[in-house]
């Protein structure tokens, strides 16, 4: 029996619980910092720093286990806005943001800002155009929303199938990020790390569904935010004496410019977006940080921004969280909190990149090849940084300093001569955010497979809703782990391709379904199908931000998919005027900010009917579920 939203109250002790989690983590940092000074080995320190928080997350997941359907799929609709904001921010940024985006800012400087700006603008567009209406709908997944809106099983199944590429790509990208960090700091192979991570996120998502995703995700976000803030603020104090990295890195631009010139960096010309993005392996930095539009043209910058904006606005993993708060107003607030936290990270990432670049270029690129810092050997063994005096001039120039994109964030504490505990802390922060994002993507995928494919296709409903979801989550985690072990994935390109897929497939369909009462099921299918087909063709032609790019850059293809999808959706809706009164009523009701979620009302009516006629067969929870 679902509880009316006015009776739903958040746990009043949440603040105390997460205060305890925060205090425990801060105490762990202080304790390990002291033990390091007392002679604790780096290996034990790193293992303790990385594994102790995992135990906390697991405890939280066990504590938030549930067998209630409403708790499992929408966390009981009682999550306070700030906590939902934590998880939204973790999903948007993810491990890809913490490591790969920061690395991209290191390599591209000014030109990489399109990505971060796109995340923030995308959250705003999603929060204005879609989130309140999905909250009112109350559907557990994005395909379920389409199914309820149009009373159609076909559109529900189709949306579920089309949700697979973007969500699966994001899932493997985040898992790979977490595995890369684990390999660097724990005594495990890559395959073992992938299996451990798949098991961890699988158990977390199975135990409590959206409920455990929310509460472990909140703890993971706090750990990630504390880790990043402590390290970057410490570096800022060391370099500038001011604990505000977002404001102080501007003062270092003149030093950075001098170091870049000394190292032999000269302004470059754009050579296509796909080739502009740095790869995951050690690469030479070839572009001055502040040069605008050096690696991509203004048009590429603008299309990349718009593609990421529309993709973030229509990202299924973010929209799936639209039903977890107590009201529409709370849902809007949670989006705003998430947006604020993402904006804070996006403002901080260039500071990390500038600090790292300045230190590396001053300590290595301008020093004699025979007097390189001692920490360089350790990073060389981990394939994060490679140097060599190739031209034999006795110095390491910018072209001879090869740096791994995803290692930039992790290298910073050691490069700044900070204690090892801060390197381990940075790794813990990265792995925490990657796990939060991966768990959310896994749950989104598993829930959609169970609710929108299995429940629709198996009319006999052999498995209960929870058992089907558990099986789907476990199978998805296993498949993602196997894929990661056998396939080579570049997390940044996978994540950007996923966002392009989400924009092309879902943005136009959601816009029409939410804002146009006369949109029909044929129109939605045409919008989704057109956008999806455009992206499939683009990827098949060698796109997907791959180095061997197609004629169109991936963002342009994605935006073309959005435009063509809109045209196809409108044309099909006008041609097949089969919009029923019930569909239009649903659309109008969805825009009413008062009252219960439509899905919850349907469940209450079904329960009331079943109570009046106990002998009759069980009525489905909602007509389209």
């Amino acid at each position: 029996m679902s509880i009316p939203s006015r009776l739903r109250t958040a746990n009043p002790h949440l603040g105390a619980y997460y205060g305890i989690v925060t205090s425990a983590f801060v105490s762990l940092i202080l304790l390990l910092a002291m033990f390091e000074q007392l002679g604790m080995s780096q290996r034990v320190l790193a293992e303790t720093m990385l594994l102790a928080p995992l135990a906390i997350y697991l405890l939280i997941a066990i504590g938030s286990r549930t067998l209630e359907v409403e708790d499992f799929f929408c966390s009981g609709r009682r999550v306070p806005p700030i906590f939902n904001g934590f998880v939204l921010a973790a999903i948007t940024v993810g491990g890809v943001g913490v490591l790969a985006y920061t690395g991209t800012v290191f390599f591209l400087g000014f030109d990489a800002l399109a990505i971060g700006l796109g995340w923030v603008a995308g959250m705003l567009i999603g929060g204005v155009l879609f989130v309140p209406y999905l909250r009112k709908s109350g559907s557990y997944t994005l395909p379920t929303f389409f199914g309820h809106r149009f009373r159609s099983r076909i559109v529900r199944v189709t949306a579920s199938v089309m949700l697979l590429p973007p969500t699966a790509l994001l899932l493997v990208a985040e898992m790979k990020m977490a595995a890369l960090i684990a390999v660097l700091f724990l005594p495990v192979t890559f395959s073992l790390a992938v299996v451990m991570i798949a098991a961890f996120i699988g158990v977390t998502a199975i135990l409590g569904g959206m409920r455990s995703v929310t509460w472990t995700g909140s703890a993971e976000f706090l750990v990630g935010a504390i880790g990043l803030a402590v390290v970057v603020t410490t570096v800022s104090i060391v370099l500038t004496n001011i604990p505000a990295p977002q404001l102080t890195y501007g003062e270092m631009f003149s030093s950075l410019h001098d170091a870049e010139i000394t190292a032999g960096l000269t302004p470059v010309q754009p050579d296509g977006l796909a080739t502009a993005l740095p790869g995951p392996g050690p690469t030479a930095n070839g572009k001055p940080f502040l040069q605008p539009f050096g690696s991509m043209s203004e048009v590429d910058f603008a299309t990349l921004f718009l593609c990421i904006t529309l993709g973030a606005a229509a990202l299924p993993s973010l929209l799936m969280r639209s039903g977890v708060t107590g009201s529409i107003s709370d849902q809007r607030r949670s989006t705003a909190w998430g947006l604020l936290l993402v904006a804070l990270f996006v403002m901080t990432a260039p500071a990390i990149a500038v600090f790292t670049k300045l230190i590396l270029f001053k300590d290595i690129a301008t020093a004699p090849a025979s007097h390189l810092p001692a920490w360089l050997g350790e990073f060389g063994a981990q394939h994060l940084i490679q140097t060599g005096d190739a031209n034999g001039d006795g110095a390491i120039g910018a072209r001879e300093l090869l740096i791994a994109r995803d290692g930039i964030t992790l290298v910073l504490p050691a490069a700044a001569d900070l204690p090892y505990v801060l390197s381990a802390l940075m790794a813990t922060a990265g792995i925490a955010i990657a796990l939060a994002a991966a768990t959310s993507h896994l749950f989104t995928l598993g829930a959609s497979l169970a609710e929108d494919l299995y429940r629709v296709l198996d009319r006999r409903q052999t498995l209960s809703r929870l058992v089907a979801a558990w099986a789907a989550i476990a199978a998805t985690a296993l498949a993602a782990a196997v894929f990661l072990v056998i396939a080579e994935v570049d997390p940044l390109r996978a994540a950007l391709t996923a966002v392009a897929f989400a924009a092309s497939t879902f943005f136009s369909a959601l816009l029409l379904a939410t804002w146009w009462p006369r949109c029909t099921v044929q129109g939605t299918l045409a919008a989704m199908g057109t956008g999806f087909a455009v992206m499939v063709v683009e990827v098949a032609m060698g796109g997907g931000f791959a180095a061997g790019q197609s004629a169109l850059t991936t963002p342009v293809a994605s935006l073309a998919g959005v435009g063509l999808g809109l045209l196809a959706g409108v044309a099909a809706s006008l041609y097949w005027r089969t919009s029923f009164k019930a569909e239009e009523t649903y659309c109008v009701e969805m825009r009413n900010p008062d009252g219960e979620a439509i899905y919850d009302r349907a469940k209450q009516r079904a329960a009331a009917t079943a109570a009046v006629r106990p002998a009759s067969p069980a009525v489905p929870a909602a007509s389209a579920s």
């Binding site: 000014f110 800002l113 971060g116 700006l117 923030v120 603008a121 705003l124 567009i125 929060g127 204005v128 155009l129 309140p132 977002q246 404001l247 501007g250 003062e251 631009f253 502040l290 605008p292 539009f293 203004e298 910058f301 603008a302 921004f305 529409i328 107003s329 809007r332 607030r333 989006t335 705003a336 947006l339 604020l340 904006a343 996006v346 403002m347 260039p350 804002w515 109008v588 825009r591 009413n592 900010p593 008062d594």
Partner: protein
């Protein structure tokens, strides 16, 4: 117009508010992208202005615009609820 004036008014205002905030933000971003290289000749807080706007200024603007939007939309929703209550 239908026979639900409060509902129609609310939907129209909601639509206008959405168009206003999204067009303002997107226009600000695209104008900044177009003028970034030119703006870089000016400085702000030790940053080149074009870089600063894309790295921080626009983000602050979007955050402020979002909280402002929530406040206005809540007022619109409240007004609709009151009007429907009064019939």
């Amino acid at each position: 117009m239908t026979d639900h004036p409060a509902r129609d008014r609310h939907q129209l205002r909601t639509l206008l508010l959405a168009i206003a905030i999204l067009s303002t933000v997107l226009l600000a971003v695209f104008l900044t992208i177009g003028a970034a290289a030119w703006l870089n000749q000016y400085g702000f807080l030790h940053f080149p202005l074009g870089f600063y706007l894309l790295a921080q200024g626009l983000l602050i603007f979007v955050v402020v615009a979002t909280f402002w939007f929530i406040r206005i939309q809540d007022r619109l929703d409240q007004a609709r609820a009151e009007n429907e209550e009064l019939g």
